[in-house]
């Protein structure tokens, strides 16, 4: 047995416990349609393919091709939604993104329940099909199967999801209440720091801000080859910035640029007076120390 086998031993016997919903017949039917489309595409020029698909594929599929819908995108530095307190939850953080924005909510009673609201830009999430739920603020809505959640069309051709975990049978009702607390309101993201240059290979994908407490800090969400990195300044190091869950805070063991710091495998914390500067990755990420020292608190 290796270390890896030992660490993952608890999952060795894990297997699905519910009956399979995989449909081999459907795979064949869809696969046959795709094959026909591929064969068709293989014998005509690229320019002709566009016209032919528009004319023939609808006939092959037996239903009209839906018209192309415009694809939307969010500004990374703007909040598009406001999320209120509802269903026993209150928002704790808000994360922007190019194609989706997400609010994380925490229970006011200190229980282990969790809730989130995720809103997609127009056309970035396919229309849901399923059981209708009561409208959310006048917008059509659907229950999310297998989860305590509700999906609703928060803007034309744009879907949002509210989900609750750990609430048992009340989950759907609470998720619907959370959904009803969501409104449309754009607001500029305020950053209490500057990062003059983002070094390669890092790419900005969003910003996480706490709700209602700007002094708590703000974090940029960066991507480095699939690894998520949070970079910025924050207070309350004993809590997860996004979820508010308790965690063990780092302690200073070294110095970075003459400042007390904790440098771990995938995180760097510089203990400045006031909020600390942090660079936290969910996997191996290059040059975290350099990344952290590039932050200039405002």
């Amino acid at each position: 047995m290796t270390d890896g086998h030992d660490l993952l031993a608890a999952l060795r016997d894990a297997a699905p416990t519910t009956p399979s919903t995989v449909d081999v017949g459907r795979a064949i039917r869809v696969g046959q349609r795709r094959r026909r489309t591929r064969q068709l595409a293989g014998v005509v020029a690229v320019a002709a393919v566009t016209a032919i698909i528009a004319a023939i594929v609808p006939a092959l599929l037996g239903r009209p091709m839906p018209p192309a819908r415009p694809l939307g995108a969010f500004d990374l530095m703007r909040h598009e939604l406001s999320v209120g307190s509802a269903g026993g939850f209150t928002p704790i953080s808000y994360e922007t993104g190019r194609y989706r924005q997400r609010a994380t909510l925490t229970p006011v009673d200190g229980s282990a329940r969790r809730a989130s609201v995720t809103a997609y830009a127009a056309g970035r999430q396919s229309d849901p099909e399923g059981t209708r739920a009561p409208d959310v603020n006048g917008h059509q809505a659907f229950w999310v199967s297998g989860r305590a959640g509700v999906a609703w069309e928060w803007a034309p051709n744009a879907w949002a999801f509210a989900e609750v975990t750990g609430a048992g049978d009340d989950g759907r009702t609470l998720a619907h209440r959370v959904a009803q607390s969501v409104g449309r309101r754009t607001a500029q993201v305020q950053l209490p720091f500057e990062v003059p240059t983002l070094p390669a290979p890092y790419r900005l994908t969003g910003v996480v801000t706490p709700r209602g407490d700007q002094a708590a800090g703000a974090l940029l969400v960066l991507d480095s080859g699939g690894t998520r990195v949070l970079l910025g300044v924050r207070r309350d190091l004993d809590r997860d910035f996004t979820t508010g869950e308790r965690r063990t805070p780092p302690t200073a063991t070294t110095q970075v640029a003459g400042r007390a710091a904790a440098v771990l495998d995938n995180s760097v914390t510089i203990f400045d007076p006031g909020p600390a500067v942090v660079a936290e990755a969910d996997g191996p990420a290059p040059d975290l120390v350099a990344l952290a020292t590039s932050v200039r608190p405002g």
Partner: protein, 167 residues
């Protein structure tokens, strides 16, 4: 066409439990696992001639499943959720449920590719070369991802696993 059709159906039907388990280990969610398998076997039908001529059909299909998982991770979680009127799942209790949940949660916090490497190597017991082939990367990359993944897992689990395993 008829023989091909039968070959495909026989193969997929026989491998369904194994494919569902692999998908479940990768994503940790039974519904998503079934979605992953459905997508994979649809692609498999389209490429069945090439797949059935491979040295190992199982390895070919497993690689398709892993790439489908990684690809869907990049597309965002809600694209994968199903919206139907099916009933809620009933949780299944067991003696190691708590330990399993702790390890599962830690595994889910790893980057998708790192998670796939650990699942393939330590839960499906595949050799490094086969993991590298499935992920289309070098064996060295698999080894470094393994090392980083185990270090991250150890840190995430902290004392929880030790206590859970001993209990």
């Amino acid at each position: 066409m008829g023989a091909v059709h039968e070959q495909y159906t026989e193969y997929v039907t026989g491998r369904l439990p194994s494919l569902r388990r692999t998908a479940f280990l990768l994503c940790g969610d039974e519904h998503r696992a079934d979605d992953l398998v459905q997508t994979t076997i649809t692609k498999l039908y389209v490429h069945w001639r090439r797949a059935s001529a491979a040295d190992s059909v199982d390895a070919y299909v497993r690689a398709m499943l892993v790439r489908t998982f990684l690809s869907e991770q990049r597309l965002g979680w809600a694209k994968r959720i199903r919206l139907t009127s099916a009933p809620q799942d009933t949780p299944v209790a067991g003696p190691d449920v708590e330990t399993r949940l702790v390890v599962r949660r830690a595994l889910d916090r790893l980057a998708p590719k790192v998670r796939a490497v650990l699942v393939l190597r330590f839960l499906l017991d595949l050799p490094v070369a086969e993991v590298a082939a499935a992920l289309r990367c070098s064996e060295g990359n698999v080894k470094s991802q393994t090392s980083a993944g185990l270090a991250a897992l150890r840190r995430l689990l902290g004392g929880a696993l030790t206590e859970g395993v001993r209990s």
